[in-house]
Structures are given as C-alpha cells and as structure tokens.
Symmetry: C2
Subunit: 398 residues, 2 copies
C-alpha cells in the first residue's frame, strides 16, 4: 500500500464472484460486506448482523450494519443508497481512514460512480481513488504460496480426471453413418457430452463457474464458441474441448484444452495440429524467469507467420490463423496476471501459474485446433505443467 501511496483500502459489494472480498474474508459464506484496512492495521469486516457468525469464520474483526444504524439511516432518508453512503462515511471515520483511500470489489458502475463521487464531496480531506492498471490485488495474486499451489494442483488433478472420463464416455459410443450414437440409436450430441462432464465435475467437487467449450467443426474454428447443444459428434471433425472449472462454491481454477478428431484426422487438421504442437513446444523450451511475457506471444507469431498463417500481430482484425493471445494467469480468477499479450508489460516470475495455449483457427474450412496446459513456475525457475492429459489428436472409435 505504501508503494502505491494508499493510506487505506476499502473492498465492497456482493460476495458472489467478488474475488477480492472472498480473498480477504477467506471465502466466509456472507452475501455481501465491506472490508476496510488502514495501512499497518488489521482489516475489519462490516456485514449484515444475520451473517455475523459466518463472517466471524473469516478470522477478521467483525462489525455489523446495525453498529452503524444502516436501517435507521435508510428509513430516515427513504433511500438504502443514502443509508449506505452515510454508513461508509461513518466506517471510514470510526476507523480513522484518511488521506488516499482506494476502492475495490464488485458493483454497478453507474452506482459506484455516484457513490464515490458523493463520498469525495462529503470527505473533502480524503482522496477517493481506484486502480486502473495492475492492482495491489493483481500483484498479491500473481505468485502462489505452497497452500495456494496445493489447491491449484488438486483442482488440476480433478479437472484432468474429468477430461479423461469424458473422453472415455465419448469413446464408448459406436459409430453409425459417420456419427456417434446413443443406446437409443439417436445421435450423441454435444449437450449429452456436456451433461456428462458437468455431473463428473460435481462429483469431484468442481463447478463450471465460467462454462466450458466443447465445439466441433466450424465452431471449433471460433475460439470462444461454446459449441451447440444439439450438434452431433461426427467422426473426422476437429473438436476443441476447453475445460476450466473451479473449486465448488469458489476458489481456484484450472484451465486446459485438447483438440480431438474421432476415428481419424483429415490431413489439414493433422497438419495444423502439428504446427500448434510445434509452437507449444517452442514456447515451453524457451520460457524463462525474468523474460517479458509478450516475447512469447511474438515467438508464436513468428512460428505461425513463417508457416504462412495470418496472426493477430500481422492483422489485428484477422479471424483466421492465430487470433488470440498466448495465455493468462490462473488463480481465483480464470483470467489473471500475467497476461501473455502483445501490450502487456509483464514479467515471468517464480510462483506464477499461467496457461500456454497456442491455436490455429479456420472456421470457413470447418476446423480449429488449440492446445492448452496450465504451467507452474517453481522457486528455482523451472516450469511444470499441471496438465498431464496426453496430447493426441485422434481418439479411436469403433
């Protein structure tokens, strides 16, 4: 906080998907709250009095909205917003939070703007601010300690297991007229596969917090297409299966992608697959602590451009070839620091966990290929994949 010139920080909002609030409260099962922390002092959590016992499990000092007469303030002013505004001013005052106070959390942008503008007016001696670049929390999240690494490894193992079981489930289905079919003789669909994968995630205490991708053919050629539930599993088509679940109820993510062809791979898909693997291996061979992340985006663009593919570097608006950035940090958020994009001035450091995910996309030719592992950097600067699932394009079917 000192390096950033902050005298205090305030984290607020509903708890749901509010990773900063959940991080500071050790994921206490509260529905909303406000954490205030003065530089050098312990943080304090303010929440609804009905949630005081769940809040106490955070280990933080707990105060309740009742301590600040929130409901009387709301009734007096006829406005919960006004009540909250006055309560936040009173919290800052009671805890002596002055000088530069930086705000974080999750909320409605327009409402946050009104709230913090009003607060700035009410407290002319206080500078209300926020962070627009790599924040104090982005930085805290970037390197993982032993407990965090253990949690990430556990989610990784279970995610790999679900991919194994899901591919085994797909393989159990016989082929008829170039499509996999169910016991009832109807075509197996992507919806069926996703339902199976979801149930297995739940079995392993994981949740599909941000969805999953199981996309075939043309959809596989559009990196963020989720895949159509009614689409059938046709042999010889590229399937991009991107699984990025989280610990059930909140916690760490894992992120992995494999590309499959059922039965056989057409030559152009096989060829693209080998090129993506070459790019992946080139990055893994050259990764080094202290290097800028954008260097690896450049390496992949070099590889693909030399092979004649358009890239996001050679044509930022391309929808063919290599169309995205190489990777991102993984932690309490699915997309965290460091970012491996051309504009990110970030450096590889021990303790980081990030994805490496080159891909080639040709939607109009009906295919896409992506390979993604999540990588951990140890304290000796060695790189370890947390994604042992084999990298083989063709999945044999009967």
């Amino acid at each position: 906080m000192e390096a950033r010139g902050f005298d205090a920080i305030v984290v607020m909002g509903h708890a749901k998907e509010n990773h900063i609030l959940n991080y500071l409260t050790s994921r206490a099962a509260i529905s909303e709250g406000i954490v205030v922390k003065q530089r050098g002092a312990s943080p304090v959590l303010v929440c609804g009095s009905m949630e005081r016992e769940e809040a106490a499990r955070s280990g933080l000092a707990v105060e309740t909205y009742n301590d600040y007469n929130l409901y009387e303030l709301a009734k007096e002013t006829g406005s919960l917003f006004e009540g909250r505004l006055r309560m936040i001013a009173a919290i800052l005052e009671r805890h002596g939070l002055k000088g530069v106070v930086s705000f974080y959390g999750l909320g409605d942008p327009g409402q946050s703007y009104m709230m913090l503008s009003r607060l700035a007016e009410m407290l002319p001696d206080t500078t209300i601010t926020g962070e627009t670049e790599t924040s104090i929390f982005d930085e805290a999240y970037t390197t993982k300690d032993a407990d965090e690494l253990a949690a990430l490894k556990s989610v990784a193992e279970r995610t790999n297991q679900v991919m194994t079981e899901t591919v085994d489930f797909v393989k159990r289905h016989p082929v008829q007229d170039s499509r996999l079919i169910n016991e009832d003789g109807l075509p197996l669909t992507i919806g069926d596969v996703k339902r199976f994968a979801r149930a297995r995630l739940l079995h392993y205490h994981l949740e599909e917090a941000e969805g999953m991708i199981f996309a075939i053919g043309r959809d596989a050629g559009i990196p963020h297409s989720r895949g159509g539930d009614s689409d059938e599993l046709e042999i010889g088509c590229s399937i991009v299966f991107d699984l990025f679940p989280r610990e059930l109820g909140g916690g760490y993510f894992h992120d992995m992608t494999r590309t499959f062809c059922l039965g056989y791979a057409p030559q152009e898909v096989q060829h693209a697959y080998e090129q993506v693997m070459a790019a992946f291996n080139e990055v893994m061979k050259t990764l080094a602590v202290g290097e800028k992340t954008y260097r690896y985006q450049d390496i992949v663009c070099d590889v693909f451009e030399a092979l004649g593919h358009p890239t996001i570097r050679s044509d930022p608006s391309t929808t063919e070839g290599y169309v995205h950035s190489l990777g991102h940090g993984v932690g309490l958020q699915i997309h965290a620091r460091p970012r491996f994009s051309s504009f990110a001035e970030e450096t590889i450091q021990p303790g980081q966990v990030f994805t490496i995910e080159p891909g080639l996309y040709y939607p109009d030719r009906g295919f896409g290929v992506r390979i993604e592992d999540t990588i951990y950097v140890d304290n000796e600067g060695r790189f370890h994949s947390l994604t042992p699932f084999p990298k083989e394009l063709v999945v044999p079917v009967e």
Copy 2:
C-alpha cells in the same frame, strides 16, 4: 428512459452474474461486452471479435473491439484501461450518444469511478450518471410477462421436486442414538444431504448459483447460516432448508424454505412453527394489489410482537425473534424488487413475483423456524403460490 431524463444508457462489464448485460443480450454466451442504447434507437452490442458469433445470437446489432482498434489503443497507451476508455468514448461518439448517459452493469467500484470520472472530463457536453434508487432495469424486471412466468414456473416445479427428493433421501436413513446413519453405519451429515441435493439440482438443469441453506439447531436460529457440512442430523432438532437455485447457466430463480423436525418436534419449536404459520397465513389473507409492501412487514411485526417476540421493528439490533424483512422479488436476481422491508416505498402490482418468508429465531435456545413461498400476482390481482411443497413440521423417520 424519457421519464428519467436519460438520452442514452450504457451497460458494461464481464457477463458473469451481470444480470443487466445478460438480460439485454438474451444471455448470449459472451464473456464481456458493452451495450449502448440511445433513446428511440435499437441497442448495439460491442464485444471481442472471437465472440462475434455467440454475440450475434443475442439478436442485437454487433460490433467488435477491433472495429474500435482496442488493441492498438491499448498498445499505443501501454494500458488496457486507457484503451477501453478511448474505445468507450469512440462508441458514444459513433452512435451519437449525447446529453445524459446513464451507466449500468458490473465492475470494480474504484475502477468504475476512475473510468467514468475520466469520461466525464473527456466529454464535457455529456452528463455521466448512474441510478441509485429503483433503476430502469429494476422497474423492467418487476413485472413478468407470460414467457418469464413460464420460465419461473418451470424452475419452481423443479425446485419443489428437488426438495421432495431430498427429504425422501433423508427419510430413507435409519435412526441410531438419536441420529440418522448412513449405510456404512456413520452419521449422515449435512454435507451428505447437500451433495445429494446438488446432484439432483444438476439433474433438473438447475444450479446452486447462490448456495443453499440446510442448517440444524442453533444454526437454524441464524437466518443466513448455511449449515455446517460435518453437522449430523439429530432427531427433534429444527432444520431450516432454504433452496434458491437458478436455471443452469443463468436465468430465473426460485426461492423456498421449509422447516423440519425429524421424528418429533419439541413443544417450543412446534409452538413457534404454528406462530410463523399464523403470520404467513395472515399475510396471504391480506395481500392486495395497490398496497405498500411495508404494510405486510408491519402486519407480521404486529402478529409477533403481540405474541411477545422481539422484532426488527421493536429493536433493530435484535438477534432473537423476527429479525429480517418479510420478502423480496424473485427473477433474474435472487433479491429483486419489490422489497418487503420497512423502508421500501414499493407497491404490490400484477405481474410481480416475490417471496413471503416470516420466521422466528432463537439461536441460544437452539432453534429457528422459517416458512417461505414464492408468490405470483396475476393480472386479476389474485395471488398464487409457486411453492406447493407441503408445510408440515415433523418428518417421520424409522
């Protein structure tokens, strides 16, 4: 928009849990986006080019970040925040959004404050604002049309079914030493029950988007206590089971609570149960279109105070007796308008869907009772419960 004096609205942020963005995009599977709408014009969705096809399923006109050179702007300024800021200014300009522009969505409060303050500086002829009271979207959400009602009814039916199956699951376990036991002779735990309920929710294409409450004894006496996973199911203890799932992947919620005692009910729990039922029935008897919602909070406080219980009205800081408000709207958010609290100036109208959930809580005496149905108001002003699950305290066990 005209009544509120807005010339345009802008909705932005990550899509995850961003109910306004999801509402406007018909839950297109995009990870983030910006929707701009000028008064009288059709809305436009701006998103990443990789998500252009998913975005098109929204039915909105789609533009991409590439159309505004976001990545070039970010690279030029060395800052994704600066790039985004300039892109938003360019979007407003291209679509002629001027005058009073109100912002919505989901984001980091400090960052939103910095973003909108900067935008206000950059566009001196535009008034940047947000809504702090019942917003244009709160209002749009308040009454449900036929399609929305059908979706709410479907979620309601499936939620009632999961509660039925979960209670049946609990009942199947024999009693030993006043506790239910598993096949392996170990005590059945709340964790076991929640795991069962979660799998059944998934089976019915529902998700535990905001958790669930299955709390026994003292925990049942604290309204927002989730219940401890390792707690055992003891006979004769009050169990509060509050189930509030959502359509899998986003959509409408249902919200229902029942209170159970396994085997038998102690007299004080039985007594409190009858008092809560009396309050519930009194509200259902007097509900009327055109009435203020706070009137019903008052009715319930009258009933409970006459019976000698402290209430949040007689003592706002009480943690015993009746300690919360009577209900809340249910829709795309679990807590929506109308609110049934003492400070809410809201009126009952046809088309609304809301909970009625009186309760009595005595944590130090080891029990709590809450009964909750979700109610729909039809166009003739009649009230229909969407929660047919029976209201019986004692669940027989062997």
